[in-house]
Amino acid sequence: MRCAGPAIECRAVTRRFGARTALHALDLDVEAGEIVGLLGPNGSGKTTTLRILATLLRPDSGTARILSWDVAAEPMQVRRLIGVMPERPSLYDRHPVEDNVRFWAEVHQVRDPGAAVARALEFAGVADRARDPAGSLSKGLKQRVALARAIVHRPPVLLLDEPSSGLDPSAAASMEGLIRDLAREGTTILLNTHRLAEAERLCDRVAILREGHLLQVGTPQQVRAALLGHIVEVEFAGLVDLPVRRAVESFPAVREVWWSPSAVRCRLSDAGRDTPELVARLVRAGAAIVAVRPAGDLERAYLELMSQPVPGSLAA
C-alpha cells in the first residue's frame, strides 16, 4: 500500500454523460480515518463521484486517487483497497448469506476466508442468519450483509452509497453505529446520504453538491456557520430582564440580536470563540440559563444552500 497524501483525493474531476455534465471539476480530499458525507439532491453528482472512485466510471478529465493509486490508470490496485456498498444491497438472493460474503473474501484472496466471513457477519450482527438465503432477509438485514461483504477483506477505504436508505429508524441507527465503529478502527469512509441529521451526527465533514458543483465542504458546524451565520440561541429559565438585555447588547462580538420572552438569538462574530464569553456575561448578569445551542441545524443550512443559485449556472 502506498499513501503519501489524503486517503481519497479528487482533483478537478469532471464527468459528462452526453451533453450533461454530471460533475464539474470536483476537488475533494478525505483524510485517512475520516468520515465524509456527500450531500445533495438527486442528480447532484454524488453517485457519479462514488462510481468514479469505485472504478466503475472513468473521469473525462481530472484525477481521482485512492491511497495515491489513480482510479483510472490503476483500477486493479484501487479495487483491492476499497469496499463498496451500493444503494441496493445487490446480493445473490438465492445464495446463503455466508456464500455471498465468502465469494467476496475468496476473490480478494483473504488468507482464511472462513474466519474472515464469520468475523464480518459477527460485526454486522447477522451471524445467526449465515445459512439463510439472502433473499429471505429484510431490507435492513440485507444492508447489514452488504456491509459485511464490503468489509470482509478489511479495506482501508469504504465507499457507501446511501447506507441507511429505506431502513426504519432503529435499523438506520444500528447501521450508523456500525459505520462509526469502522471509522474508529481507522477505516476511511466516504458516504452518500439524504439523511442530513445522520450526516450531522456521523460525519467529520460534509460536502454539499448540486448539479455537479461542490458548493460547500467542511465540518457540519462550519457548514452551518457559513450558511446560517454564527448564530447561537440561549434559552432562560424565566423571562428576560433588563440586566440580561444589557449584558447581551453591550457585548461587542454580538452583531445582531433577536429577543423572545425567555430566549435570545445572537449573531456573533465567531460563534466558536465568542460563545463562552457571552455565556459568562449572562451568568454575571444573573441569567438562569437552560440551554445554549447553535441556531439551526445542518438541514436548515442545506435548505438555505439549495435556495441559492448554483455558481456558474445561468441563474447565478
Binding site: P86, S90, Y92, R149
Partner: protein, 246 residues
C-alpha cells in the same frame, strides 16, 4: 497475464464456483441443462434401437450420422442460455455493479464465467455420449453397431465438443455484454450458432468424410475462431456500458 495464468487465478476460480452455484439455483437453466441432454440422448438411441434397414432412409451410416449430430449439437445449444445470462443476469438482479468493483480484470471476469458454463456443458455432452456408446455396445443390432462404434466419432467429439462449446459460450457472452435483454441475447446467439453447425452437418452426413484429418482441420478452424472471438468478447465488454444499460 496469459490465458493459462488467468484460468488458474484464485479470483477466477472463486468466480467460477460462484457461477456454478448460481446456475444450479436457476430453475430455467437447470431445466435446460437437464431436458436438452436427455432429449439429445433419447432421440439418437431410439433411432438406432428401432433401426430397420428396409424402412430406413439411407443406410446405417446415415442413421449414425443423425445420432452424432445430436451429440455435436449439445455443446452448442446448452451453453447458449447460460451464456446469455452471464452479464445480463447479473445486471437484472442488481449484482453487476458490486461485482465490477472486485479486483478482477475484464479477462478474469469473463474467464470465470466461461469456465462455469463449460464445465456442466462438457460434463453433460460427454456423459450422454458415454451412455449412448454403452447402449449401442449392448443393445443395438450389428449392422448399425459397427459404424456407431467407429473410433473416429469419439475422437471427433472429444476434440470438437470443447471448442464448439467455447464458441457457443463466447458468442452468448458477446451478445450478453452488448444486449439489454436476455431473450435478445439468446435470439442473436441462435442466429450465429445455427448456421455455424453447417460444417458439422457436412461431416456427420459424410458429405465430408469423418476422418482424423477432417476432425483435426475442423478443430483447428474452430480453435482459431474461438481465439478471435475471445479477443472480440474482451474488447466488447465495456464496464460503463454494462452498468449504464441497466
Amino acid at each position: 497475464m496469459s490465458n493459462a495464468a488467468i484460468t488458474s487465478s484464485p479470483g477466477v476460480r472463486a468466480l467460477a464456483r460462484k457461477e456454478l452455484r448460481e446456475l444450479r439455483r436457476h430453475r430455467m437453466i437447470v431445466a435446460t441443462a437437464i431436458v436438452l441432454p436427455i432429449a439429445f440422448l433419447v432421440l439418437p438411441v431410439l433411432n438406432l434401437l428401432l433401426y430397420e434397414p428396409s424402412r430406413a432412409i439411407g443406410g446405417p451410416d446415415f442413421a449414425v450420422g443423425q445420432a452424432m449430430f445430436c451429440f455435436f449439437l449439445t455443446p452448442v445449444i446448452m451453453p447458449a442460455t447460460m451464456a446469455a445470462y452471464g452479464i445480463i443476469g447479473e445486471r437484472d438482479q442488481g449484482t453487476l455493479e458490486p461485482l465490477l468493483t472486485l479486483p478482477l480484470s475484464d479477462r478474469e471476469l469473463l474467464a470465470g464465467k466461461v469456465a462455469a458454463i463449460l464445465l456442466p456443458t462438457l460434463g453433460a455432452s460427454f456423459g450422454i455420449y458415454a451412455l449412448y456408446m454403452a447402449v449401442v455396445a449392448l443393445a443395438v443390432e450389428p449392422p448399425v453397431r459397427s459404424p456407431a462404434l467407429d473410433w473416429t466419432w469419439p475422437f471427433g467429439l472429444l476434440l470438437a465438443a470443447p471448442l464448439l462449446a467455447l464458441f457457443s459460450t463466447l458468442t452468448g457472452m458477446f451478445f450478453s455484454a452488448r444486449s439489454k435483454d436476455v431473450r435478445i441475447a439468446e435470439h442473436l446467439s441462435g442466429l450465429v450458432l445455427l448456421p455455424s453447425m453447417l460444417p458439422v452437418l457436412l461431416i456427420v452426413t459424410r458429405t465430408v468424410e469423418p476422418s482424423v484429418l477432417t476432425w483435426c482441420v475442423f478443430a483447428a478452424a474452430v480453435a482459431a475462431i474461438d481465439a478471435g472471438l475471445w479477443r472480440l468478447v474482451v474488447r466488447a465488454f465495456d464496464r460503463e456500458r454494462a452498468i449504464s444499460t441497466a
